[in-house]
Each structure stands twice: as C-alpha cells, then as structure tokens.
C-alpha cells in the first residue's frame, strides 16, 4: 500500500486487518496478523483494540485470537438496504421466480466480478443456501455476460484483457469466443450460461439499464441445467420471462423504451 495524499495510514491498516480476517480460515492472533501485514505487533494490537471497541472484530476468549465482529453484518445489511437497484428489484425478482419456478439472482458488476445483491429461492420448498454476497467472475455467468455485453467498448476490452479463469470445463476462457458471445447477447438481448460457473447449473440473464441507458445490473434465472436448458437450449417461455422482467425493471429505473435492447424487435 503506497501512501497517497489525503489517505490516513492507520485507516488503511485497519482495512487490511479486516480483509485479512475476512479471507482467512482460522482466527488470527496478533503475531500472525503483524507478520502477514508487515507491521509491528504493538501497532496491530492497537488497531485491533480500536476495531474491537466498535465490534468490527472480536477476540476468542479461549485462544485469544481475533475474528470478524458482528458490526460488520449490520454494515453489510445496511449496504444491501441502501442499494437502490436491489430495493427496486425485490418485487420483479419475486414475480419472475414464481412465474418461472426457478431461483432468481440480481447482480451488479464490481471489477471483474458479479456481486449477487439479491437472491430469491426457487419456490419448491427445497433446501437452498442464500447466495447474496457471492462474487462470480463475469465471464462465467449469464449475469456477467449480459452486463459486459452492453458496456462501453473500452470497458468491455479491459475486462476481456483481464484474467478469465476456468471454473468448469465449459467456461469460456478464449477472449475471441467471448467477443462473439457478447455480440450475440447484444443482438438477442439475453445471455445464456450452460454450466460455465458450476457443473450442473445454468443461467439466463438480461441487463438492466438506467435513465442514461447505461447498464447498471442484471437479473437472471439460475437453476439446474435440465430445467433451464432442457435438451441444451433455453426454454422459450423462460427467455421471454427474463427479458420482460428486465424491461419492466429497467423502465422503473428510468430507462426509456428506445434505450432497451430488443425494443424495436
């Protein structure tokens, strides 16, 4: 971390402590954290005590090690509550899920990843885990491809030039193949994912636009490949349901009819 003007060094260090605790399996002690961050133990200890006073970290009584604290959950929830796209998508996502009888994801692009900000469970009483907060490489999921397809060319290129990790045997990792896929998505207004992030799972997504016509997120059906892509191709009524939900939600976000893909089709 280079010191930039107008940056407070200790706030940066506290942030690094939180990130270290958030990415680690085990709880970390003062010594481990100090070694990891290249800081003096006394400095780390002072930061931890301050964070602990705000409940951003807590200390395990038995081992003396530190872990993330409950105040972060409240902040995470506040982030979601204040997320305008998420707030506006709740009803649309619910109705898409009940119409398609599949799970719905609403996501936004953060760097090269799609962050799931809302998740409606598949309405069939099965056990499912909440995937809000999940971060999926953009090129491996329908949401990411749907959003990136409608970005400015420079932004699109930047993402294509970045890392394209392989998540399954079906992940598209060749930039040229992805360009073709993105161009097809622009023409059709909908993105398909066939087990490119998780074996056995598929997705159908459409982008969401704001009043400027800029892509601000996406809405997707996510579910077993045999439900979404029976026989290898998307069920027509599911495609239509996703596109209609995306159009309706985009209008609510202020997008004009003409700025929506496929509006003239």
């Amino acid at each position: 971390m280079t010191a930039e003007p107008n940056m407070i060094q200790s706030v940066g260090r506290a942030a690094r402590i939180l990130k270290a605790l958030g990415s680690e399996q085990a709880r970390l002690g003062v010594t481990e954290l100090a070694e990891r961050l290249g800081l003096a133990k006394a400095t780390v200890y002072g930061l931890l005590r301050t964070l602990e006073a705000h409940q951003f970290v807590e200390q395990d009584i038995e081992t003396g090690k530190y872990r993330l604290g409950p105040a972060l959950l409240q902040l995470g929830n506040a982030f979601l509550d204040n997320h305008e796209l998420r707030a506006r998508s709740l009803l649309w996502a619910e109705s898409l899920a009940s119409r398609a009888r599949e799970a719905v994801h609403v996501g936004v692009l953060y760097g090269p990843n799609v962050l799931i900000v809302h998740h409606v469970f598949r309405p069939d009483d099965s056990v499912q885990i909440l995937e809000v907060g999940a971060s999926i490489p953009w090129h491996a999921c329908a949401l990411g491809k749907a959003m990136v397809a409608f970005l400015e060319p420079s932004q699109r290129k930047e993402l294509l030039d970045g890392g394209l990790p392989r998540l399954t045997g079906q992940t598209l990792t060749d930039p040229e193949a992805l360009v073709q896929e993105l161009d097809r998505i622009v023409r059709e207004g909908v993105a398909i994912e066939d087990q490119e992030a998780i074996v056995g799972e598929a997705g159908i997504a459409a982008p969401l636009f704001d009043h400027r016509g800029a892509v601000v997120g996406g809405i997707a059906l996510a579910g077993p490949v045999e439900h979404l892509l029976p026989g290898g191709a998307p069920a027509g009524d599911l495609l239509a349901a996703v596109k209609e939900s995306a159009r309706g939600l985009s209008r609510e976000l202020g997008a004009g009819r003409l700025s929506l893909p496929g509006a003239g089709a």
């Binding site: 885990i129 045997g169 074996v199």
Partner: protein
C-alpha cells in the same frame, strides 16, 4: 478383476452410499444444497436397477451403463461428474472381460481426467478431486511396492484422508465457492462420497480374493498378463 467384481463394487458402493446418505446430505447442508446424499442414493438405486438388466455384460459395459444412468438420473454437479467418471472408466476398459491391477489404475486415471475435464478442478479446490487424486496416487504407489489388496487398502485410506483434508480448505469450485471463506471448516461432500467409492472398491477386491481362495481358482489370464 472381472464383471462379477465390478458388479460387486457397484453394489457395495450403493449400499455404502445408502447407509451414509444422511451424513452426505448433512455435510452438503453446510456448504451446498443439502441434497448430495439424496442425489447419490437416487443415482445408485437407478444403477442397481440398470445392472439387473445387464446379465452377461462385460465390466466395461457395466461401468459405462452405470455412468449413463447417473447422468440421466442425477441432478446437480454429482450427475455429470460421477457419470463422466464411470463412463470414462467403462470406455477405458472397452470390451475386455477380465483385467488386472494395472488396468484398474488406468481406469481410475481415466475417471480422474474425465472429472477434471468437466469440472476443471485441481487438488485443493475442495471437490471430489481431493479424494480421487490422492486415492489414485496411493493406489499407484501401493501397486509398485505391494500386493493388489494392500494397494486398494492404501487407496481407500488416502481417499478418506483426502476427504478429511478438505475441512480447512476454502472452496474454489462449485456452489460452495460462492460462500468464500465461509466454506472453510466443512468437509466436502463430493470428496466424501468419492472416498466411499474407494472403500467399496477395497471391499469388492477383498471379497473376490476371499471367494477365490475358497474356491482355489487360478488367477485369470488377463491378470497374469498384467503382472
């Protein structure tokens, strides 16, 4: 090994999966959809039904049929992954009737390659590969230094250990990877079911050996050729 031994392996595997299905589902509830035990049990139940229609089939055909059944019956990741593993094993065997330990090694290797082609997982990603790869490696080393029986025993032990070793890992593949750091601290259900299949393999090999000793049969030509 022959068709009877492969059949016994699949039957023992089905029984082990059935008795551990709640445990597998319990593991999956922590980091997945809480359906791994249900899915594996459904798959093996269908495999047993399919086996009963395949009288006289060779070992390769048995495994290929088991794989196709898995793919068509089982949802989620388990269907395509285990289905591919069995189909690859069956195709590696081809139409051979009897085969020896070296061929078994090649078959398991083909299964691992198939699973990795579909799932793109490597050791440490917290998937079934974390049991399959060490099981295969231990079997290979075991064959070099000891008997077939000791090799399958070591393979089972290594696969079990591999499954347990997934506990501290953070998932990098599959739905569990969505949980990020929260996937740490839980044993991977897929690695666990794979370890059960290695345990079933050991059972089947030991049972065949015991039967032969009882009947005092000579070892088959295929195995002699292999050794």
């Amino acid at each position: 090994m022959d068709a009877a031994c492969v059949r016994r392996w699949l039957e023992v595997a089905a029984a082990r999966i059935e008795s551990e299905r709640h445990y597998l589902t319990h593991l999956d509830a922590a980091i997945g959809d809480a359906d791994h035990g249900i899915n594996m049990h459904r798959g093996f139940t269908a495999v047993l039904a399919r086996l009963s229609t395949l009288d006289g089939a060779g070992p390769g055909e048995l495994l290929t049929s088991a794989g196709r059944t898995f793919v068509s019956i089982v949802g989620g990741a388990a269907g395509p992954l285990y289905g591919t593993a069995f189909v690859q094993a069956g195709q590696a065997l081809g139409s051979d009737g009897a085969f020896g330990p070296r061929r078994l090694l090649e078959i398991i290797r083909a299964s691992l390659q198939g699973v990795q082609r579909v799932g793109a997982a490597v050791v440490g990603d917290k998937t079934m590969v974390d049991a399959l790869a060490p099981g295969l490696a231990a079997f290979e080393v075991g064959l070099r230094h000891g008997s077939f029986e000791s090799a399958v025993r070591e393979a089972r032990a290594a696969a079990m250990e591999g499954a347990r070793n997934t506990i501290p890992l953070q998932a990098r593949k599959g739905r569990a990877s969505y949980l990020g750091p929260r996937s740490v601290g839980h044993q991977d259900p897929g690695a666990t079911s794979t370890a059960l299949l290695f345990a079933a393999l050991e059972d089947a090999v030991l049972a065949q050996r015991a039967q032969r000793l009882a009947a005092d049969q000579p070892i088959s030509l295929g195995e002699m050729h292999d050794r």
